[in-house]
Subunit: 300 residues, 2 copies
């Protein structure tokens, strides 16, 4: 088992959408990524919360094999996000955003990561990602996620970070925006030309593409008749993929594909309930069942 | 080998788009479907052309094992369609449409089709599809295609025809429009509830979904770095699927999945050049190669 260090946000979310409304539920990119990774590995969470962080929310984090030593409690309020989904989850609107202590977050790794380690740079300011890369040293396998906000606003830092990234996660629109390529196959190649040895382009209900030195993998999404909260789908996708990789001796094409399938499966559970509610109840055998289902989908 | 009867249009197309312009090239839904089917079976074309139909275009039809006995030459001009594709083939605009002899087309099957036969009702007026169904008798396996124009304008006849259809082909937007379901998994179930035992929902670059009594198959599209003319992609998809089915002793889930893979492969060749140009040059071993590629895409 290799080390897996996950950097990102731990937040309290208000979520409103077709399936109802929830207030102050545990969220944040690092929360979802750690929760998802914990089904395969023991991720180390590097994030910060405020003194107002509810004991109940912390207990939810403690339920899983997640190393919380890097979760700093700082003076000030916890990161809060409030969002609303349109009917049929067609779009998402941010109603309010209060960075709280996350606004001054300066992640610290302590010391460089040993060979074999995986570092996940969740969706944070690309300048912060660069600062973490400097701390991580040259031996870690670096995975990163970002959003359109940073692609538009901090492109240079992002591009600099990509040169030191091994695996980049983007959704289709982000990949098009970053590369200028409309065709996703060309976008995948362009991403790899920017540095990452591997690129994942997530297409929501249409599945995901994985670009490696060995070629292309295309895995469909699992059919979901009932989505209740898509928040964190991408973060848990990345977390599950990296958790599986951390637990694997190899990072070759076959292992990356196997990890992609686990990512697809875990994300399909995430969206079934608000926050990490579904993942809290998730059993090993349910993961295996859904993997078998995924295999059945693409059999011909 | 079972009989495969394909009903639709044979046309002369003017096509303008990112890859250039071609005038008066052989097109039409039945042309594409027959060409694609001919790699697996010997389809019988039931369509009409005008006296102006160029000998050169007829020779292109004669190149493949297609039974042209049902291709009627009528007094008047051949169906002509003129269309333009937007940059990156993002959308298509019809510039001119002259039905010509196709406006008075009353397809005739001669006599009912024997058990095991497959009848493909290409995209024509649903009332005409019903008239053909009456001629076909109760023993044929009926596949049908349609477009948004008929879903909006002749919904009742379409729904009536569906009750007598075994396999329906629609793209994602058409499936949503016909069923009122935004979620494609629900749309697939709704389509099957309307009559067809099997439904295929085509998602373009995102592949296709197949709904059967045994469950769901999701096959990705082949990655296409170079598309030159998407005209006829859907028709050749359907033609290839039905050609493979006509050549198969079974129509069970495994056979339908195998047929879906062939459909994906043939359509990927169709769009590589204008009209049926790429299919004219297509070799057996290229089909096998691309099938292997498709298998590689979904391996995990």
């Amino acid at each position: 088992m290799n080390r897996l260090v996950i950097i990102g946000s731990v937040a309290l979310d208000d979520i409103d959408g077709p399936a109802g409304r929830r207030e102050s539920i545990l969220g944040g990119s690092a929360t979802y990524a750690c929760y998802a990774a914990s089904f395969f590995a023991r991720p180390e969470l590097v994030a910060c919360i405020g003194k107002d962080f509810p004991a109940k929310a912390r207990k939810v984090l403690e339920e899983r094999p997640i190393d919380l030593a890097g979760l700093a409690t700082l003076d000030g309020p916890t990161f809060r996000w409030s969002g609303r989904y349109a009917p049929a989850f067609a779009s998402r609107e941010t109603l309010a955003l209060d960075l709280g202590v996350f606004g001054g977050f300066r992640p610290s790794l302590g010391k460089p990561l040993p060979p074999g380690s995986i570092l996940f740079l969740g969706n944070i300011d690309p300048d912060l990602q660069l600062a973490v890369l400097d701390q991580a040293g040259p031996d870690a396998y670096v995975a990163a996620d970002t959003i359109d906000h940073w692609i538009r606003g901090k492109r240079d830092a992002l591009v600099e970070g990509l040169k030191r990234t091994h695996l980049i996660f983007l959704n289709d629109e982000e990949a098009r925006l970053l590369t200028g390529e409309d065709n996703l196959i060309k976008a995948g190649a362009a991403l790899r030309a920017m540095g990452p040895r591997e690129a994942v382009i997530k297409k929501g209900e249409h599945g995901a593409l994985l670009f490696t030195s060995a070629g292309l993998a295309a895995i469909p999404a699992l059919p979901l008749e009932s989505v209740n909260d898509p928040t964190g789908a991408g973060d848990s996708f990345a977390g599950a993929m990296l958790g599986f990789l951390a637990a694997s001796p190899d990072r070759d094409d076959a292992t990356l594909r196997a990890a992609l399938a686990r990512a697809t499966v875990i994300a399909s559970f995430t969206v079934a309930d608000f926050g990490v509610q579904r993942l809290r109840k998730l059993k090993e055998e349910e993961i295996e069942e859904r993997l078998a289902h995924l295999r059945g989908l693409v059999r011909f």
